[in-house]
């Protein structure tokens, strides 16, 4: 484990990664029983479960860094809205299937750029988690990208829907790559990859998929979202209320 003085920064960095996976996993599982086809229902549930699995490893690690005896469940279910450090993009509502796919492509490409570099992290535990997650993430990106191409290059209706979803969600992507003090600190210590480098890998993949899907890449707009600092959109509260209800109503309840 890291030396005590650096624990809070590393704790917050690991929470950012863990919360991203947890919140997106929770969002995607809202599709269970509602996807357009039984096969897609299972596909989305599989991805949701992979993400929750990543969240478990990351949040358990965060608990150890914190050193106050909190486990993965305490961290997932007993924190408040403002203590969540996921980027704002992943808490956005599912919308229609096309909008879910757009969000998924944007975030899968981000996670792949992250995990592919995190396997070389100076933090051995993060490197090991990334090693496991990178394989899953490659599949997620393949699944979501294939769907985006089908929908974008599909009918007029499907093209219009995913283009509009892309316009709506695009502003949230700026936050992913906007380095703040914590990101820079982690990168300097060799724990985290540089966001600059991740952005170009991400951008390359996104451009490729958008071209194949005959979609137009929206222009970057000024950065206004700060989920990774704990300032969230209104949507996170509803998601947490549903996710945390059981543990709040029946503290310590187990299967």
């Amino acid at each position: 484990m890291s030396a005590a003085p650096e624990a809070p920064a590393l704790y917050r960095y690991v929470l950012r990664l863990g919360d991203l996976a947890l919140v997106l996993g929770q969002r995607l599982s809202e599709w269970v029983g509602h996807a357009p086809a039984l096969e897609e229902d299972l596909g989305l549930a599989n991805i949701a479960l992979d993400l929750v699995g990543q969240a478990r490893l990351l949040l358990a690690y965060a608990g150890e860094i914190e050193g106050r005896g909190r486990g993965e469940d305490d961290i997932a279910f007993l924190r408040e809205h403002g203590e969540y450090l996921n980027p704002t993009l992943v808490e956005q509502p599912n919308g229609d299937f096309g909008e879910t796919i757009v969000r998924q492509v944007l975030i899968d490409a981000y996670q792949l750029a992250l995990y592919e570099r995190l396997v070389r992290s100076g933090d051995e535990r993060l490197a090991a988690i990334a090693e496991k997650a990178v394989k899953e993430t490659r599949y997620h990106l393949r699944y979501s990208s294939n769907w985006l191409v089908r929908l974008g290059d599909g009918t007029e209706e499907s093209h219009g829907r995913v283009q509009r979803a892309l316009e709506r969600l695009w502003p949230y992507t700026v936050e992913l790559f906007e380095a703040d003090a914590l990101d820079r600190d982690m990168a300097e210590r060799g724990v985290a990859p540089s966001l600059e480098e991740m952005r170009s890998a991400w951008s390359r993949h996104i451009d490729e998929v958008l071209t194949e899907a005959t979609l137009k890449r929206p222009a970057d707009r000024p950065y206004t979202w700060f989920g990774k600092r704990g300032e969230h959109s209104e949507h996170l509260g509803y998601l947490l209320a549903e996710m945390q209800y059981l543990q709040r109503a029946h503290p310590g309840a187990r299967w």
């Binding site: 086809a37 039984l38 096969e39 299972l42 596909g43 599989n46 699944y143 294939n146 089908r150």
Partner: protein
């Protein structure tokens, strides 16, 4: 059956038959069927539906429409004549006691 699935105006995705090779060196085995709008999606669905617990190392997806099946009504003509041709079954040999797994 599959022709109906591919009929114009039919919104249902076409059906694919899925074959999985459990391990290197073994044959692909039929495991079931699923709907998908193209072959690439069929492979992805098969991965999600049939290989979640490491059941396989390779997947084949075959459009069900490409399969020509024997007619169950003709089963008598096709298969029963084999029943009374006992010389086709190697049952006349004494199996040496050393051979345990024949």
């Amino acid at each position: 059956m599959s022709a109906e699935n591919n009929a114009p105006g039919e919104r249902e995705w076409p059906l694919f038959e899925i074959f999985i090779r459990p391990r290197g060196g073994l044959d692909h085995k039929h495991v079931g069927s699923l709907h998908a709008c193209d072959p690439r999606m069929a492979i992805e669905h098969a991965r999600d539906l049939y290989t979640r617990r490491e059941e396989g190392v390779s997947i084949w997806a075959v459009p069900s429409a490409s399969i020509t099946a024997s007619d169950p009504a003709e089963a008598d003509a096709l298969f029963e004549p084999a029943r009374d041709k006992i010389y086709r079954h190697p049952t006349f040999y004494d199996i040496p006691p050393e051979v345990k797994t024949l």
